[in-house]
């Protein structure tokens, strides 16, 4: 119906406001998505960092991309939690029986994920600046970084939608996120892959996080756009498409 389409963005803003309130009122969410990555950054820079040889003088610069990806991976797990709660409590049925576009609920959660992860990324970068992070990247490089991080968030958010809709328990809804949070550790995010044994090295160099981390790191240090960007983009777009298809299928089946 015409009016339903007309109100789509208005309805979406109501959904966004609702879940942002959820985040602000959940200490657990704030600790996990913000305090933990910052604590990890402090730990790596001031405790382990001295013993890690990366070939760069500034270790904060080196690990910041990886920390951002960990923050996003733990951030999207809460999308699964919020969606799971909506399904369990039956509020999704209330929304679905109202005269609003059926996809509004899902897009509301996706938009919330993008906005809240953007906020945590900005806060973490500010903390990194205080810790000595410096970048010679130009505006274009920064815009590219924003684009890659947004695409990465979007891809993982659609991954998170699947367990959010299909999980049987709240633990099941978040379990998928642990390997994602762990992935940056087996990549070039904290140490160069050259120091790893062959099998681990092969894995590390051929998983999405390394390509994304290398791209962002190169852009932050003011280098021209590296060729890894195509690998990074291919991973993000590929994950996004597959996850979107399965998420939509789960949504139609569930509600």
């Amino acid at each position: 119906m015409e009016t339903i389409q007309k109100h789509f963005f208005l309805d979406l803003s109501v959904m966004l406001g609702r879940s942002l309130r959820h985040i602000l009122r959940s200490m657990d969410t704030i600790i996990t998505v913000l305090i933990t990555p910052i604590a990890m950054m402090l730990l790596f820079v001031y405790v382990f960092g001295g013993a890690i040889q990366t070939g760069t003088a500034n270790y904060v610069n080196y690990i910041l991309p990886g920390i951002l990806l960990i923050a996003i991976a733990s951030g999207i797990s809460y999308t699964a939690v919020r969606l799971f709660t909506d399904v369990q409590r039956g509020i999704i049925e209330r929304f679905r029986s109202m005269p609003i576009a059926p996809s509004t609920v899902l897009w509301g959660h996706v938009l919330t994920s993008l906005v809240s992860n953007a906020i945590s990324v900005v806060v973490i970068i500010l903390v990194a600046l205080v810790m000595g992070f410096r970048s010679s990247a130009g505006i274009l490089s920064w815009l590219t970084i924003v684009g890659i991080l947004a695409l990465f968030t979007l891809a993982l958010t659609w991954v998170a939608v699947i367990p959010g809709l299909t999980a049987k328990s709240i633990d099941g809804a978040v379990a998928f996120a642990y390997p994602l949070i762990f992935l940056p550790f087996i990549s070039s995010a904290f140490v160069p892959t050259s120091s790893m044994p062959p099998v681990v090295k092969a894995f590390a160099e051929n998983q999405p996080v390394t390509a994304i981390v290398e791209t962002i790191r190169a852009l932050l240090s003011g280098q021209p756009v590296p060729h890894e960007i195509w690998v990074a983009l291919a991973w993000c777009v590929g994950i996004l498409l597959v996850a979107y298809i399965f998420a939509m299928r789960a949504y139609k089946k569930r509600v």
Partner: protein, 253 residues
């Protein structure tokens, strides 16, 4: 002339091997309270889900407020509100925020005013700015019903509105439902409690194993089934009557 708010004909639905609905037909008059009575698993929730566009039927037709649920779901959604089996309220928000949210989603002009009016009407003004997670079961149900009244949709669907409520909560819900019907709304409710159907409904339909076994007014049903026999039994107060009497006295003091 009476018009029908809901017309259901030969409704069928099955989940894989299980035939949940096997040709269900009934009509609900505008402004009446209609109770669908049945035990757990009889298919009550399935009927509600089809009528509120959450589920597609396999066969038959369902017309709500003059619109076909299968071909005009948007029009149907404009005409109704659904109160599900479990209070579908947002626990992280306050009572007031919950109502404002629904009012905004229904695109009402003054969401805050609508919310405050309903809070007053349902006796939730004192709890308005408290998070719903601190509410009692009865308060949640009241808020749930209040959310269903935002935007005054003409047809209300209540899926087991009193399941899990204490006796006082039940009476409160009954009172609200009666008021709504007096105000001209059509109320469609499901219940597994015989006394609830008896107390509230203008018409009752008994759903069993996917078909309507009997339907009509309470008097019609009474006429059709075993004739009333006269027995002299010393009437003991029911536990419910005792409970309410004690509570009532305590509140008077």
């Amino acid at each position: 002339m009476q018009t029908n708010s809901i017309e259901v004909a030969d409704l069928q639905k099955s989940y894989k091997e299980l035939n949940v609905l096997q040709g269900v037909s009934f009509t609900v008059e505008q402004g009446s309270i209609f109770a669908l009575l049945g035990s757990n698993g009889a298919g009550k929730t399935t009927i509600i889900k089809i009528l509120t566009t959450l589920l597609k039927q396999d066969g038959g037709t369902a017309i709500v407020n003059g619109f076909d649920v299968a071909s005009q779901p948007d029009h149907v959604r404009q005409s109704l509100s659904l109160t599900g089996q479990f209070a579908a309220v947002d626990e992280m928000l306050t009572g007031q925020e919950n109502l404002i949210m629904i009012a905004r989603l229904r695109h009402l002009k003054q969401p805050r005013q609508v919310a405050d009016e309903l809070l007053t009407r349902f006796g939730l003004t004192d709890a308005a700015t408290r998070r719903v997670s601190t509410y009692s079961g009865g308060m949640r149900r009241r808020l749930d019903l209040a959310m269903s009244l935002v935007g005054t949709p003409p047809i209300l669907f209540l899926d087991e509105p009193t399941t899990g409520l204490d006796p006082e909560g039940r009476l409160e819900v009954w009172k609200v439902v009666k008021e709504l019907a007096d105000g001209g709304r059509t109320v469609f409710l499901t219940t597994q409690y015989l006394d609830e159907a008896e107390q509230l409904a203008d018409r009752i339909a008994i759903l069993h194993e996917g078909t309507i076994l009997a339907s009509g007014t309470l008097m019609e049903l009474q006429k059709r089934f075993p004739a009333a026999s006269v027995e002299y039994v010393e009437k003991q107060p029911t536990l419910e009557e005792i409970f309410l009497a004690i509570i009532g006295k305590k509140e008077e003091q």
